[in-house]
């Protein structure tokens, strides 16, 4: 009988708002179980929100997650608007969608880079992050900050986009098409990446429905959930775009869905910019009070649906503010995805739902029987990278090639 070993991964690392402590149960090379422990990042935001007024709440939810720092505010202001029956001017809707899609591009780029790092292609990491900086430059131009843009406000947006900035933004966005195509070709057509990610960490459509998983994780398994399409909000009902869906549910399909989604985002941004030229008017309806009631707001963040519930009692503070981030639903699916896979694949499977990098930097394997440390954090990544080298040799292929532009 093979010895059963527990590999603890974590605990604390800056995931979205939910860092986890994974305990991988392995028999030899095979993963037979997974325990997940949360709470190392819990900051009590739901309770804090009850002591802030509605304008401050938005700055608070922005700090839930640094990567989704406009998804939570959009969902939050929509919940407030739903509770108070507040109308939003049309121009504000286009600006909301524009910021949301820019964020989606930078978030997917970030994931792509880290996935490349875990697979042993540090070139992809460096290049993805280099082009991600171009998106951050657009943010800096529009909002004045690289992250935490503070653009949302109940009833509209906080800042306008100047019409003289639009050509410059268009040019910067246009410059992204070439590198994105380059990434698409580098990742999608590469035999080594196929060998490492196809058929790895597969989730079936039924598992997705049972666990109510969201976002690219669900769409890679053929479950068509996209809050932008199903519950039209912001300007998503007013522009033309497609929902990307794949069928196999493995790591490769999750990557493909994310890469193709970036092109859809570019499409939406382009149309929003065009509309901003013609749609004029106020950007904010300046609500004076929120009447008693309750409201639900949801927005399709890069990782899936962000859900906010706000109950108002007529004062200037929410009586209850419930936040549910997409990873809360997605992380549970790791329990199913990782079973029966090898340890060297576990890194990329756990990363496939788009948590962050730090988890994999703090791993240590302990032999349960002797209590002796057998391998450490960097070894996990090294294991994954070594497997890629081996696959490369077998295939005789050099791995993804990035040509200088």
């Amino acid at each position: 009988m093979t010895k059963r070993t527990i590999i603890p991964i974590g605990p604390y690392h800056a995931l979205q708002e939910e860092p986890e402590f994974f305990k991988l149960h392995v028999e030899g090379e095979k993963v037979v179980g997974l325990e997940i422990e949360l709470g190392y990042n819990h900051r009590g935001i739901e309770k804090l929100s009850e002591s802030k007024h509605y304008d401050q709440t938005i700055f608070l939810v922005e700090r839930i997650c640094g990567i989704c720092s406009t998804s939570h505010p959009i969902a939050c202001v929509q919940a407030i608007e739903d509770a108070g029956d507040i109308e939003v001017p049309e121009r504000a809707l286009y600006i909301r969608s524009l910021i949301g899609e820019l964020e989606r591009i930078h978030s997917h780029m970030l994931w792509l880079g880290l996935a490349g790092h875990f697979l042993g292609f540090n070139t992809i990491w460096m290049w993805a992050w280099r082009y991600r900086e171009d998106v951050l430059d657009v943010f800096e131009l529009i909002t004045g900050n690289r992250n935490h843009y503070a653009m949302m406000k109940a009833g509209g947006v906080r800042r306008d986009i100047k019409s003289e900035d639009i050509p410059a933004i268009k040019k910067m966005i246009g410059n992204l098409v070439k590198p994105l195509t380059l990434f698409k070709n580098a990742v999608v057509d590469d035999p080594v990446i196929h060998a490492r990610t196809k058929g790895v960490g597969t989730l079936t459509a039924q598992q997705i429905i049972d666990y109510a998983a969201l976002g690219p994780t669900a769409r890679a398994s053929g479950v068509l959930i996209d809050v932008r399409r199903d519950h039209p909000h912001a300007a998503y009902g007013l522009v033309d775009w497609d929902v990307i869906v794949a069928q196999n549910g493995d790591v490769f399909d999750k990557a493909v869905v994310r890469i193709l989604e970036m092109f859809e985002s570019l499409k939406i941004i382009d149309q929003c910019l065009e509309k901003l030229k013609t749609v004029t008017g106020p950007i904010d309806s300046n609500p004076r009070e929120i009447k008693p009631g309750e409201g639900v707001g949801h927005y399709e963040a890069p990782r899936g649906e962000v859900f906010h519930y706000i109950r108002s009692d007529g004062t200037n503070r929410p009586a209850r503010h419930k936040v549910r981030a997409p990873s809360f639903m997605n992380i549970v699916t790791d329990r199913e995805a990782v079973i029966g896979q090898t340890v060297s694949d576990a890194t990329i499977i756990l990363a496939a739902v788009d948590p962050c990098y730090c988890c994999t930097e703090r791993m240590a394997a302990i032999d349960v029987n002797s209590g002796k440390k057998t391998f450490t954090s960097a070894d996990m990544i090294r294991l994954s990278q070594a497997k890629t080298e081996q696959v490369k040799k077998q295939l005789g292929a050099p791995g993804p090639q990035i040509k200088l532009l």
Binding site: Y12, Y40, R43, I45, E361
Partner: protein, 142 residues
């Protein structure tokens, strides 16, 4: 200049330690290392293990669950080690000071050598902080 300080300031091995952060400072730390800002030109390398660390970049508040763990990790670092608190949360607790899960200020657990406020600090600010820190360690005037 002592041998230790000389060796320390030539090529700092950076370890990135996150308490309960919102992730943004952590991303900006990584962005500082990637091609546009390229902190590696100052000889700084990101290492995967605390046992190799000369410089710890600390982000986020400490909550009741993570505080003990972060302290344990810090104790495993070889001394002397330089600690920089990155971002408003690590410096003061920021907007999470009133939370029920907020434990204590970071400096109650770990001695901090430099504070770098900002939400998040820009990569330029991080580079400037590191350069100032090295200058200070070498005993020169800023």
């Amino acid at each position: 200049m002592s041998f230790a300080v000389n060796a320390l300031t030539r090529s700092l091995n950076v370890f990135h330690l996150a308490g309960s952060a919102c992730n943004n400072c952590d991303i900006e730390i990584l962005a500082t290392l990637t091609p546009k800002y390229d902190l590696e030109r100052f000889g700084l390398v990101l290492v995967g293990s605390i046992r190799h660390a000369d410089l710890i970049l600390l982000s986020g508040i400490f909550n009741k669950k993570s505080a003990i763990r972060v302290k344990e990790v810090y104790e495993q670092a070889p001394k002397p080690v330089v600690v920089v608190a990155i971002g408003g949360c690590a410096c003061s607790g920021g907007m999470f000071r009133d939370s029920y899960n907020w434990d204590q200020p970071v400096n109650k657990y770990i001695p901090i050598d430099a504070y770098l406020p900002g939400c998040p600090p820009k990569p330029e600010a991080m580079i400037s902080a590191v350069v100032k820190l090295i200058t200070k360690l070498r005993g020169k005037k800023l």
